[in-house]
Symmetry: C2
Subunit: 402 residues, 2 copies
């Protein structure tokens, strides 16, 4: 008997009608003979509503109490969904974080699941559907904690791992993972199968379908995922480990990021420790550096270092670089209107000419490349921001993603 | 060091501003050197909102899940109040039902508190304020339960008892217990001190300030209560055991009930078991009989029995009495437009003439008395409903309650 984890996000349980619809989805799976654990988020808008209540009391509302407050959101959904399932004559039961319990480590609002007691829930699964709140657990002191990165997706994947589930389905408000942003590029196409690595590259680049940390956990424990829509019957996107995918295309998707800025330090001394000198103070100032490219130095004694950051920290970054005595360079140039375009595909490694085809395509559109960075499954370029959509469309066509 | 239980009802914590106000009340008490446990209800309207959500799924929503759903309301208030206290630099902590735990017995939605583990909270009280949700607990199976009768008041009194508290203050949206309904009778006056017995008689008769079952528990364990307003600095009403009150007045308050109906069975056989025959089928049909009066029979073989019920069950009651073969009587009369007026006062026993003064007062107003019933601290009459306000005003004046 297959054991399935079905996770439903906030918009999927946003109203009573939607909760009843979700109950029907679960009933279908349950009636077909699977053991089901449903993991639910708070009803959409609920978590923000609770955060706003807390902010009216204090901007730095006590973190322990904030977790007590926020965890009530998923508790409400759990009870409503369990009740809706019972109304469909399915034996269902909500299991709150402390009733299982879901044990977490780490600080409030940023905990991670480390263990669960499986026996009670496993026994119950033989006779009914368990409904479990996402996004939360308890600490070893018995305090309520919430899970920082990944939220309810992370709970679903952790449960899938601990319960040795056969699959983990993430129900959301989109049809799956797309080859690029379907809201901006109408020819964007739903991807049927994608590897964990590709999914990570795409999600960190803006395809915000699933939280990266949850995908990472699934990859680590090889738990197959499926992202699909709560509101249609269409198949979603299956996410596997790379070896289980037969690649017919070299490129799976085109991602792009907005609001980027580029800084180039020209004439940096080319010796060990220089890069560390540059990035240490930025890290201390909590400035997130994205792409880093170091060009080969021409005169064998200096080099040029280019990196990208978010546009809103450009001023702060420049100030740090210009005031810090340990950072030596001849000149600093910056461009605050750039975008990063990436093609992602696990099939890239084995397909010759992908790099060349990308560069030629951009050249055909008269798009100048300001910097290039490559990895095993990703090729990113920095271009002027105004060319973003043109570039994405062109690459989408070149790599036959339409 | 005094240990105080402060309970805040739904309207007292109905908005963020009110929760902050409540935090200030607690701070004042805490700074004056008391150990404080705050017991809170859900924000006003919240419980009904949650009930409505459940009713949109099923009218007979599963009771276990309903308790999971409803208990989230007090959880939210707990977290917000604890956060507001911390913002005032008071070490505060929410303790949920399962964290203490508050153990209950009895079925879902109608459980009662049987025990708590005091050690952890008692230890914490030495260094801060504990905030505890009213209205809920957990069963011995670890399921969330809610407390039927008395709700959060019952939690406050149970905690006062278990923690051996010096006092239990019930903060609400009225100034205290009044000599009669202040909304209808403007000369109604706040009562400074009242005995548990009087409070019970008054609250069961319509002065809905505190739940009767909570008052009963307080009486049983002799826990002094104070009912007072969250929104003014005025003193409230203190509720003690009778022997601690020095009565200067014979009558403490005048209560009245609405929507009553009266039934009289004429010519009932006067022998043992007859009354039981009459009221057993009514009890089975869950008809709540209020006042029962049996007149002295004139012919020594039959008697007349009068009783009152709520008006909306009059038809059903008549049908039962008329169709049941075990109930024998000569005639049945009824009046569906009656009211019950009661004077309540622990000082009545020791004051001669109270009964006479009541009857004379009503006669002066040309009000006919349809039935009379007396107890140690209460004297009730049934009158035509249209005379209700006149009667209450007159009695209020006669017994110098204005």
């Amino acid at each position: 008997m297959a054991k399935k984890i079905l996770k439903f996000g906030g918009t999927s349980v946003g109203t009573i009608e939607r909760i009843q619809h979700v109950a029907n989805i679960i009933k279908k799976e349950y009636d077909s003979g699977s053991q089901i654990i449903a993991v639910v988020s708070a009803m959409s808008g609920k978590t923000n509503e609770l955060i706003n209540l807390s902010k009216n009391i204090a901007n730095d509302f006590n973190k322990r109490e904030l977790d007590v407050l926020l965890s009530s959101g998923e508790q409400v959904t759990c009870a409503l969904l369990a009740g809706a399932l019972i109304e469909l004559k399915i034996n269902a039961k909500s299991w709150l974080n402390w009733q299982i319990p879901i044990l977490t480590e780490g600080e409030h609002s940023n905990a991670r699941i480390v263990n669960m007691n499986l026996d009670k829930v496993n026994n119950f699964l033989k006779k009914g559907v368990a409904v479990i709140p996402g996004f939360q657990g308890i600490s070893k002191n018995g305090d309520i904690t919430t899970i920082g990165r990944g939220g309810s997706d992370a709970t679903a994947v952790a449960i899938a791992k601990l319960f040795n589930a056969d699959s983990c389905e993430i129900y959301t408000d989109v049809d799956g993972v797309f080859s690029t942003d379907p809201n901006k590029i109408p020819v964007a196409k739903k991807i049927e199968k994608i590897s964990f690595d590709e999914m990570l590259e795409l999600s960190s680049l803006g395809a915000k379908v699933m939280q990266s940390s949850a995908v990472q956990t699934a990859m680590m424990y090889d738990i197959p995922l499926e992202v699909r829509s709560t509101f249609t019957d269409r198949k979603g996107t299956k996410i596997f480990s790379q070896q289980n995918i037969d690649y017919t295309k070299s490129v799976t998707g085109v991602a792009y990021s907005k609001d980027d800025a580029k800084i180039t330090l020209i004439g940096v001394e080319d010796k060990p420790g220089v890069a560390a000198n540059i990035f240490e103070p930025l890290n201390k100032a909590q400035i997130n550096v994205d792409m880093v490219i170091q060009n080969i130095s021409s005169d064998q004694s200096t080099t040029d270092i280019t990196f990208t950051i978010k546009r809103d920290v450009l001023k702060k970054t420049k100030e740090i670089l210009e005031s810090n005595q340990n950072i030596k360079y001849k000149d600093l140039t910056h461009n605050d209107k750039v975008a990063k375009i990436s093609i992602v595909g696990a099939g890239m490694v084995s397909t010759p000419g992908v790099t060349y085809r990308m560069f030629r395509g951009l050249a055909e559109e008269q798009i100048n490349i300001l910097a290039i960075s490559t990895s095993e499954i990703k090729l990113s370029v920095i271009i002027d921001e105004e060319n973003t959509l043109n570039a994405v469309k062109k690459l989408h066509t070149i790599f036959e993603l339409n």
